[in-house]
């Protein structure tokens, strides 16, 4: 269609302007602010240069947070991707007959994270919680635990909730990719005598490599910025054991009023997200060449 570029830009500019105003500009501003030491209550700002970052490098809580974010990334990928794939493939065959099941797997995503956190906090409660009661009832008393109150279990407990909540979402994404594969490819595999597993391994998986990588990127980025569930369930505790970058940043900014230090943590989050993105873009790029 013939058109002038000006018209096209007029259609794009409102969205781009709002985006730049609320996201791009503040993003740069955060990096600038991380070079200062300042409080939200006073207009005075002291230039610290890289001081905040030097302090971060020796901060044991930051180290805990980084390790926990790493654990979040690793476990979320290892648990959610295969499970979401199983569900997506299942919906392509068995679950096609049961639309209700699809709704069930997706439903935790609809529930506010705060509500999810509250439910599971009660569920995990060491004294009155349903989980310990269930284990008792099943004769597994030895497995009962302090869950969220246990320093070594808290993060794992919250990751489990996150898997419960988001697997349905990743199922939807993989399902979309699955449905984009033309039926005649499967028919060809069937004619060649491939069984279900062979078809999945040699037809479905290679064709879905790209969307699996995109989904893996979403999981990774989501694990770098994870906040809500932890904030509701443990506030990063007990004694910082379940701390992640986002909870630590939030506390530094809005409880301890160390705005510059918090901005530095936010910048670290940003950099990690960028690194993850570059890695995945490289991976998809290389796949694109071989296929």
């Amino acid at each position: 269609m013939r058109h002038r570029p000006l018209t096209a830009w007029l259609l794009v500019v409102p969205a781009a302007a709002v985006f730049a105003f609320y996201i791009t500009y503040p993003l740069i501003h955060t990096v600038v602010l991380s070079a200062y030491s300042w409080s939200a209550l006073s207009p005075v700002r002291t230039f610290r240069g890289l001081g905040n970052y030097i302090e971060l490098a020796g901060d044991p809580i930051l180290r805990t947070a980084l390790i926990n974010n790493g654990l979040w990334i690793l476990l979320s990928l290892v648990i959610q991707l295969p499970l979401a794939m199983l569900l997506a493939v299942g919906i392509g065959s068995a679950l096609r007959r049961h639309r209700v099941l699809r709704t069930i797997f997706f439903s935790p995503l609809i529930i506010p994270a705060v509500a999810v956190g509250l439910i599971w906090t009660l569920f995990y409660d060491p004294h009155f919680g349903a989980l310990n009661a269930m284990l008792d009832g099943l004769g597994l008393e030895a497995w009962t635990a302090g869950w969220l109150g246990d320093r070594s279990l808290a993060t794992l407990c919250i990751i489990a909730v996150s898997c419960w909540r988001f697997t349905g979402f990743h199922m939807m994404i993989l399902l979309a990719g699955l449905q984009a594969i033309p039926d005649d490819i499967y028919e060809a595999a069937l004619i060649d005598g491939a069984n279900s597993w062979q078809t999945f391994r040699h037809v479905t998986l290679p064709l879905m490599k790209r969307i699996i990588l995109v989904d893996a990127l979403l999981i990774t980025v989501g694990s770098v910025k994870i906040f809500d569930l932890i904030w509701v369930m443990t506030r990063g505790g007990p004694s910082n054991a379940s701390e992640v970058l986002a909870t630590y940043m939030f506390r530094m900014a809005f409880s301890d009023d160390r705005m510059g230090y918090a901005a530095a943590i936010a910048t670290v989050m940003m950099v990690l997200t960028m690194i993850a993105t570059i890695i995945y873009v490289r991976l998809t790029g290389r796949e694109g060449e071989t296929v």
Binding site: T7, P14, P26, T30, L95, L122
Partner: protein, 271 residues
């Protein structure tokens, strides 16, 4: 193993998984009708009577007000997101112009940016502008909603056949007119998908709401639930009832639109 046996096994596996997925929700629903004391004594028991006591307590605890706030904020934000992203998506999908790809990529970066990375400057900005609580959250909600909306709508718009537009072009209709009277009606699945994803996100959003909404009277559901829990820490029944009330509106929305969701996503996945 026979094909039939496999099918049974497969179905059984999914039924079991579904049960595990549902268990906490069923527990929540049942618990919302039980007295706090019973609930703590025997977490897996059934309610003594189907009395709405907890729901009344939750409603008195301003859950109704939070519900209203969330509804207003969500509807306004989603409407603005669609109003801004549809023209942009149309331009990206249908008009080739220099810098178009760059502008598209620029907006897409938003998919990856953590809210925490802009929290402090926006906190300052809101304080400086002195905007009210609603406006303070609607701005960032719209901005963060744009990338996914532009992405999904662009993919859908790109697949709309040219023939649909030709009559309108011959009539001399402008782009906005074509967008409004041809693209939007045809793209209902994509718009429904965008609307439900954005509504779910905004309805659930915590950090912005926690920092930017100053007055309790303006709390949205997530902040409101947290403060409600703080005030009723031992009253598990009331907390669970509050949770159920908070979930219902989105559940209804999802059930109404769910058949569109996969279709709306698929267009995005092929590209």
């Amino acid at each position: 193993m026979t094909r039939r046996a496999w099918r049974w096994l497969w179905d059984g596996l999914f039924a079991l998984l579904a049960l595990i997925f549902m268990l906490p929700l069923i527990w929540t629903l049942i618990g919302s009708f039980r007295k706090a004391g019973e609930l703590r004594m025997e977490p897996w028991g059934m309610p003594e009577a189907l009395a709405p006591t907890n729901y009344l307590a939750a409603w008195e605890g301003k859950i109704g007000l939070y519900l209203l706030n969330s509804t207003v904020v969500t509807i306004i934000s989603v409407a603005i997101i669609i109003a801004l992203s549809a023209p942009a998506a149309y331009a990206f999908a249908r008009l080739r112009f220099s810098g178009g790809q760059l502008a598209f990529g620029f907006i897409l970066t938003g998919l990856l940016i953590p809210a925490h990375a802009v929290l402090i400057p926006l906190y300052q900005l809101n304080a400086a502008l002195g905007v009210g609580d609603y406006l303070a959250v609607i701005g960032p909600y719209v901005a963060f909603g744009l990338p996914l909306s532009v992405l999904l709508l662009r993919a859908y718009f790109a697949e709309i056949p040219r023939e649909l537009m030709e009559a309108a072009i011959i009539d001399g209709a402008g782009h906005l007119r074509i967008l409004w009277s041809i693209f939007m009606p045809v793209s209902r699945p994509a718009i429904a998908t965008v609307a439900i994803f954005q509504a779910a996100w905004i309805w659930n959003e915590l950090p912005f709401a926690m920092v930017f909404i100053a007055q309790e009277a303006n709390y949205t559901i997530p902040v409101g639930l947290l403060s409600f829990q703080g005030e009723h820490i031992a009253d598990w029944g009331a907390i669970l009832a509050g949770v159920v009330i908070a979930v219902i509106p989105l559940m209804i929305l999802y059930l109404l639109f769910q058949k569109h969701i996969v279709r709306g996503l698929t267009a995005g996945a092929v590209k």
